[in-house]
């Protein structure tokens, strides 16, 4: 299935793109997306704990299963204002 991943701030910089399209097996969850992105980027390990995920605009846990066509936003700690 196809997942569109949105990346922001230091995650965007670490991965070098504000958007990635991933092909994942059926039944994949947010954690699988993270591991796919983190592969070969050891620096990302530190970010995992503080990152939140939003599936189609709603916050979800890293255990959340994804569906084909989902948009998954990975959100580092926010700092607006």
């Amino acid at each position: 299935m196809q997942i569109r991943v949105l990346l922001f701030a230091r995650l965007r910089e670490a991965i070098g793109a504000s958007e990635r399209s991933l092909e994942l097996p059926e039944g994949a969850c947010v954690e699988d997306v993270w591991e796919t992105l983190a592969r070969g980027r050891p620096g990302l390990g530190d970010e995992r704990r503080s990152t939140r995920a939003a599936r189609n605009g709603s916050l979800v846990s890293f255990e959340e299963r994804l569906r084909d066509g989902d948009e998954l936003a990975l959100l580092p700690p926010v700092g607006g204002g």
Partner: protein, 138 residues
């Protein structure tokens, strides 16, 4: 009025949400300071937002303020992109019949925005370096 904008924020434009029954308007303006909390000289802040989610968060915050403090009209406008020292990064306006609700709603909204809205801030320093900065969490 809930907006993410790329240009200069004109705070007076937010006043248009007030009604003729509103006797008090409280506005918070966040201004880019010339120094970070650790003392480093800042030349600008660069903001980015997950816009659709940020806008929904603004609306949710305003709706919560209404539930908590009573009838109040709110506007929340946040700028993204590079914002230079002395410029406005965020404006929150609350208008109500009496001032208590306006103060409470305005303060609630900026507190919650900083904690919850999917917006990120990079400090850009006078020495050419830069750093992403998280705000007040939880």
């Amino acid at each position: 009025m809930f907006r993410i904008v790329r240009e200069t924020i004109e705070p007076r434009a937010l006043e248009q949400i007030a009604r003729t029954t509103d006797g008090g308007i409280v506005t918070f303006l966040g201004i880019v300071r010339d120094a970070a909390d650790d003392g480093k000289r800042v030349s600008a802040l660069a903001y980015e937002a997950f816009e659709p989610m940020a806008l929904r968060e603004f609306e949710a915050i305003a709706s919560e303020a209404q539930d908590r403090f009573g009838e109040v009209r709110m506007a929340i406008v946040h700028r993204v992109g590079e914002v230079r020292v002395g410029e406005i990064s965020v404006a929150v306006l609350a208008a109500a019949a009496h001032r208590d609700a306006a103060f409470d709603a305005c303060r609630y909204a900026i507190d919650q925005l900083k904690r919850r809205a999917p917006i990120w801030k990079q400090e850009r320093y006078a020495d050419g370096t830069a750093q992403w900065r998280a705000g007040e969490q939880g």
